[in-house]
């Protein structure tokens, strides 16, 4: 297979565009695709401060790399989720990436801030781990962006992610989620950051190819909680279609954005947001879901400490009372 641009040996085939590229021309094409998405959707400009959510996986580190190369002011934000060795390695990959490029990286350590990691937050509040994790990510990305005056939060959702979420939302008939599914989510509250997805035109296989060709060192292991995740099943189904009908994922998502979503917007009532009485973040309730979760966890952790202190007291009393063994 030959590169469409230079006729050299191709390294990456982009079947949905009936094209293939050598390494250098693939990198050039990829960066142009991202820049086109940013400009076309008016996501941000070189004057804006962009907070990039980075997990240490391929997509987020590729996004950060491309934005820095394109000259955007991109600061990374990593959340340490407290999932054992997986979280430790993820943070190390982000730190190494930032160090190599002289880029700014912010880190929020969830176990240090809230007493337990996302699995503990889930366990202590009767949620599944991915639910507590998703809630924590949405809350903390927004909070850090607003508190530190960033203009926009960029996440690395790619075409495959968006197509799989879309398929899931269509199956569930989740109209509110469909209305919110867009590459640019405008702020509707002073405490709500704009959110953008600059990789929405890029397939997951292409972000992986970019990472390999640029030598980006990312976490290859999957989150241990993602095994059997529904999103993986939806992606598998879409990739079966894509294998025999290249362009299926792109057609599904782009046709939705251009033809279907505009019709849904008129059918959806805007959600009234107010400020959480505890943290000030936007919410539909008096106290936001994140505060409710972390406050419940704090109470349970305190009662555990109290119970364990009560259990220790007799021992302390006996040794402190002079009645210990001689």
């Amino acid at each position: 297979m030959r590169c469409t641009k230079c006729k050299g040996t191709a390294q990456v085939e982009v079947r949905r565009h009936h094209t293939a590229f050598c390494g250098p021309h693939f990198l050039e094409w990829f960066e142009a695709q991202v820049d086109r998405a940013v400009r076309r959707e008016r996501m941000f400009t070189p004057q804006d401060r962009v907070l990039v959510a980075v997990s240490g996986g391929k997509d987020s580190l590729v996004l950060w790399d491309v934005l820095l190369r394109l000259g955007y002011q991109a600061t990374g934000l990593h959340l340490n989720l407290g999932i054992g060795g997986y979280s430790q390695e993820s943070q190390e990959k982000c730190e190494a990436f930032a160090r190599d490029r002289g880029a700014e990286l912010l880190v929020v350590d969830i176990p240090a801030e809230y007493g337990v990691g996302v699995e503990g937050l889930a366990q202590l509040t009767g949620r599944v781990a991915c639910s507590a994790c998703g809630l924590s990510k949405r809350y903390l990305f927004n909070r850090v962006a607003v508190d530190r005056g960033f203009d926009v939060v960029a996440t690395a959702h790619n075409l495959d992610d968006e197509a799989a979420v879309l398929l899931g939302n269509l199956i569930a008939g989740n109209v509110d989620a469909l209305v919110r599914q867009t590459p640019v989510l405008e702020s509707t509250h002073p405490g709500l950051a704009r959110k953008v997805k600059p990789l929405y035109r890029i397939a997951e296989r292409e972000t992986a190819a970019y990472a390999v060709l640029r030598g980006i060192d990312y976490v290859l292991d999957e989150c241990p909680n993602s095994a059997g995740a529904r999103s993986l099943l939806l992606k598998e189904a879409l990739n079966l279609l894509e294998r025999d009908a290249p362009g299926t994922k792109q057609s599904l998502y782009w046709n939705f954005l251009e033809k279907v979503r505009p019709l849904l917007r008129t059918a959806s009532e805007p959600v009234a947001l107010r400020s959480c009485v505890h943290c000030g973040q936007p919410t539909t309730a008096e106290v936001c879901a994140f505060c409710r979760m972390t406050e419940r966890v704090a109470r349970k952790l305190q009662s555990r400490v109290a119970v364990s202190a009560a259990r220790r007291e007799p021992v302390a009393a006996s040794s402190g009372g002079g009645g210990g063994p001689a």
Binding site: M1, V12, A20, G57, A209, C223
Partner: protein, 51 residues
């Protein structure tokens, strides 16, 4: 692998969907028609992530 001459044949033999993997030889990515030899060291890298 006996009888395998290209990346496409290799993925067929392993029953892998080409949309879900990259095939890497050293620092080079291989397209479906790229020829592979018995002595080649090939990495098949999954690209699908999610949770």
């Amino acid at each position: 692998m006996e009888g395998v001459r290209t990346v496409g044949e290799l993925l067929d033999r392993l029953q892998l969907n080409p949309e879900t993997v990259l095939v890497v030889r050293g620092t080079e990515l291989l397209t479906r028609d790229a020829r592979v030899a018995d002595e080649d060291e090939i990495e098949i890298r999954p690209v699908v992530s999610g949770g």
